[in-house]
């Protein structure tokens, strides 16, 4: 920073720092501390005990759920890698026609509500699914979608875009010489891939994979819709919480801590692996994608399109279903707008709530995210470093856990927010704030302080330099970040499911209950509204941002 700053500006940023710490303390640290402490309290006597954890770690019911969660986490992660890495390799190394279409479809699959996947696969492959029925008519019995393999399938198809987008951009930034050196030293194409190319993009692959793992173990909607009797930590935490209503939710909390620990271990493992690897990309000597002819070309295109087609199938199913004619919950054949009419008659509040809460949360995230990222990037103090670290926490805390923390914190006195819209806005805000901060700080890091200093040396005041030079340069990143916050906010389910009341229910909550009630028409119509909204945001990001798909990971 420049040495001479007006006193007022220093005070302003100190105030920002103070307020940020207070807000994060209240909305993040305190609720999680409550959850943490509650896990160590005896449900009746309220004295310190390790019994809750002992129970979770010894009882077969919980251990089974723990094992299941690990299986779907690893399964989702591996599945996402198996889809994402080959797709990334194809689009990065070969000239694939419609590459931007593929990227856009992958992004769309990514931003669609997670539970849509589960529900759509039920529509296709469930007991009464159309593919199941058609194949049954042909005498072929398809395996059921319900169960562990269904969950892993849905997770793989839902989360692979993370692996794909991260790996693709890493593959594109590999210096061509590395692969040439490997070839020069005697590697065949395949050896080169496994000995050099994949190790070089391992940081990107592992980041994507860990993200898939964390999201898979935290996901609540998918296992509860197609898991049937298959229990995961997130479903039993939710069930425990709803059955412990009235008493302190100690067991739900203990289970939650287990999920946090798993996520944190995964993130720490990835950080540990990454710490030994520091590869600077080179933008000078990049690989040129090859044109592939003949059978191989057909294979590459077929593979790419098959993957994104499978991933976007749920979206197509949802939109298609929403236009089917219904009478009550029953599909009567033919097309019609009945489902939309019922949405408007029966749950108009849900639409209004979703947009109202998400919009407010997005504005808050954008403003707070911009200010906090300026503190983190430009004023490197111990406190801002701490802020940066603390903001990692929401990444590893599942929505169910955060919601329980909020219910424990904001339930009395002046802080009694239970049942209000405010508590939903606040949880959306704190859960997505890190993403907003990351979006703006990555842009800010690319803007050299010297640009601001140049403006100051040309006579602009520091404040004017910030607003006239830095802010306009930050805008694309800020807008992209805001769009992403908005998309995740309107699709949020796992935390709001514990916090909503009849007055504050959002679209994802309504979709979830509609699916459970067998009201597939309403679920599809609501989902389509969500999808179109998300799609519009994606369009804005792709249209106005330079790094395109990079914004979504």
């Amino acid at each position: 920073m420049t040495s001479r700053l007006p006193a007022a500006r220093i005070e302003f940023w100190s105030v920002v720092m103070g307020v940020s710490i207070a807000v994060i303390g209240l909305l993040l640290i305190w609720p999680i501390a409550q959850v943490l402490v509650l896990g160590f309290l005896h449900p009746e006597t309220q004295t310190f005990t390790l019994a809750n954890y002992a129970k979770v770690l010894t009882h077969r019911y919980y251990l089974g759920a723990l094992g299941n969660t690990l299986i779907i986490g690893i399964g989702g992660m591996v599945g996402a890698c198996l889809l994402g890495i080959p797709l990334a390799y194809c689009t990065a190394r070969y000239v694939v026609k419609g590459r931007s279409l593929i990227a856009t479809l992958a992004v769309l699959a990514l931003v669609s509500p997670p539970f849509i996947g589960a529900y759509s696969w039920v529509v296709v492959l469930g007991n009464n699914g159309w593919l199941t029925q058609h194949m049954k008519a042909l005498g072929v019995a398809l395996p059921t979608i319900y169960g562990i393999h269904g969950i892993i399938l849905v997770f793989s198809l839902k989360f692979f875009p993370f692996v794909y987008l991260m790996t693709e951009s890493a593959l594109r930034n590999i210096n061509r010489s590395f692969e040439e050196a490997a070839e020069n030293l005697g590697c065949s194409r395949l050896e080169r891939l496994f000995k050099v190319t994949l190790p070089l993009v391992f940081p990107a692959i592992s980041s994507g994979a860990i993200l898939c793992f964390v999201l898979s173990i935290a996901d609540f909607g998918t296992p509860s819709i197609i898991g049937r009797d298959f229990r995961t930590l997130s479903t039993i935490a939710y069930n425990q919480y709803t059955s412990e209503m009235g008493g302190p939710p100690t067991m739900a909390v203990s289970i939650s801590m287990l999920m946090i620990v798993m996520s944190m271990l995964a993130v720490l493992l990835q950080r540990h692996l990454m710490s030994k690897r520091r590869y600077a990309g080179s933008l000078t000597n990049l690989t040129v994608p090859k044109v592939c002819h003949g059978a191989f070309g057909v294979f590459v295109h077929a593979l790419c399109y098959a993957i994104v087609a499978l991933a976007t199938l749920p979206i197509a199913v949802v939109v298609y279903t929403s236009f089917l004619q219904t009478s009550g919950p029953v599909f009567t054949g033919g097309f019609g707008l009945n489902s939309y009419a019922r949405v408007i008659q029966e749950v108009p509040d849900a639409i209004a709530n979703t947009f109202k809460f998400s919009l407010i949360a997005t504005v808050l995230i954008t403003v707070a995210g911009g200010l906090i990222s300026y503190i983190i990037v430009r004023r490197e103090t111990r406190l801002s470093g701490l802020l940066d670290t603390v903001l990692m926490v929401p990444y590893v805390v599942p929505g169910v856990v955060m919601a329980i923390g909020f219910l424990l914190t904001f339930n009395q006195g002046a802080l009694d927010l239970v049942g209000t819209g405010a508590i939903i806005v606040l949880i959306l805000f704190i859960r997505r704030l890190p993403y907003g901060v990351r979006a703006t700080s990555s842009v800010l890091r690319q803007i050299k302080p010297s640009i601001e200093e140049a403006a100051i040396s040309l006579g602009a005041s520091p404040a004017r330099a910030f607003f006239k030079v830095t802010v306009p340069l930050m805008m694309p990143g800020v807008i992209a970040g805001a769009m992403m916050s908005f998309i995740t906010a309107i699709n949020e389910l796992s935390s709001t499911l514990l916090l909503y009341t009849a007055r504050t229910a959002t679209m994802p909550v309504r979709i979830y209950s509609a699916v459970l009630d067998g009201e597939f028409g309403i679920a599809a119509a609501l989902s389509t509204i969500l999808l179109v909204s998300s799609g519009l945001c994606v369009f804005v990001v792709l249209r106005f941002s330079r790094s395109k798909e990079g914004n979504f990971v």
Binding site: N184, L185, G186, V196, L200, R277, R278, Y279
Partner: protein
């Protein structure tokens, strides 16, 4: 006998012809440098030898073996890259061992050979380091060791020093040359730096527009450039036109002088004289020409004094002299007398690549 033989290599990209019928013989054990400006085809030619580009026509021989159609992984040529290409996920030892592992050399032999070559390139202490802990110069030593340890039939180097800072570049250049001579390995080296090419090579091949302009020892390249392009690209040079005035006289920088014997009857030609062959305020010790001019700029670099002099009827002429106190005291605007010997003057036919006349 030639270790590397290129016969009629051609390569084009769309309409752009990158290599036009290149034929070269590179002697066993020679340090052979491809020199030229960017886009001249030198890197394309090197990469064709390495197997990264398939030539459109022509053949490449390594010793007796034709390698032009082998994959890059089957050629057994060592390659050192401009950007080092040291694998960032492997430590120094594993980087150097990479090619030996590919060749399925026994582990204890790999160990022995890697440690020995690391000693040779002065990295013996750094075997366990990761690449990001190394400086650029050290990384390029790893690249060199990695290429040498597989005992290639030929060592290819693609501008290996151009990413290093000036001092390091000279140090490593010296080490590369010593090592090459010690091992006696045939080396093909690409650079656009003419000073580097002259200082390191046995043979220099100057390329321009996909065509070999001249192959020769550094001495020949500098002192007997085969055409005007080589004369202007390698080293500094002054060029001036000789316009015929009647049968036996030409106009040389505004003066009418007798036509030099070698160019009698050639019409309009271009002559050149190196700046260090231009005498400043000194009398000539032989047959030559003198001009009066006005000093425009003088720059003293310690070892020498560079003068830019405006000669009426020509323009700026550069001179390079040993600095003396009286010379350094010269101020822009002062008159100076320039002179050079006919013997130091070369004559070229007209055009960018006009041939040397002799």
């Amino acid at each position: 006998m030639a270790q590397v033989r290129l016969k009629n290599i051609r390569k084009s990209y769309g309409n752009h012809v990158a290599l036009k019928d290149i034929s070269l013989d590179i002697e066993s054990g020679a340090f052979f440098t491809l020199l030229g400006p960017s886009g001249c085809g030198k890197t394309t030619l090197l990469r064709a030898i390495a197997g990264f580009h398939q030539q459109d026509a022509g053949e490449i021989y390594l010793g007796q073996q034709s390698i032009g159609h082998l994959g890059a992984n089957k050629r057994n040529v060592g390659m050192v890259f401009q950007d080092y290409a040291v694998f960032p996920h492997l430590n120094v030892f594993d980087n150097v061992a990479f090619g030996l592992v590919q060749q399925k050399v026994p582990a204890n032999e790999i160990r022995q050979r890697v440690l020995s070559i690391l000693e040779t390139v002065q990295l013996g202490q750094l075997a366990k380091r990761m690449p990001h802990q190394l400086s650029g110069g050290q990384q390029q030593r790893v690249g060199l060791a990695r290429a040498l340890v597989i005992r290639p039939k030929v060592l290819l180097m693609d501008e290996p020093l151009s990413n290093l800072d000036a001092k390091l570049r000279v140090d490593l250049r010296r080490d590369i040359r010593l090592l090459q001579q010690e091992l006696g390995i045939t080396t093909v080296y690409v650079t656009h730096d003419q000073e580097e090419a002259l200082s390191i090579s046995d043979q220099v091949c100057v390329m321009h527009d996909g065509v070999v302009q001249q192959v020769g020892s550094p001495w020949v390249i500098y002192n007997r450039p085969s055409n005007r392009f080589v004369a202007s690209f390698v080293g500094a040079n002054n060029f001036f036109a000789l316009d015929p005035v009647g049968e036996s006289r030409v106009r040389l920088m505004g003066q009418e002088v007798d036509v030099p014997d070698v160019v009698r009857g050639r019409g309009r030609i271009v002559a050149s004289v190196r700046p260090e062959k231009v005498f400043v305020n000194q009398s000539l010790g032989g047959q030559g020409w003198q001009f009066d001019g006005v000093l425009r700029q003088a720059s003293f670099t310690g070892r020498e004094l560079q003068l830019s002099v405006d000669v009426p009827g020509h323009g700026l002429l550069d001179a390079l002299t040993a600095p003396s106190e009286s010379m350094v005291a010269l101020k822009p605007g002062q008159s100076v007398r320039l002179a050079f010997l006919a013997a130091d003057t070369l004559y070229f036919a007209e055009g960018d690549t006009g041939a040397l006349l002799s």
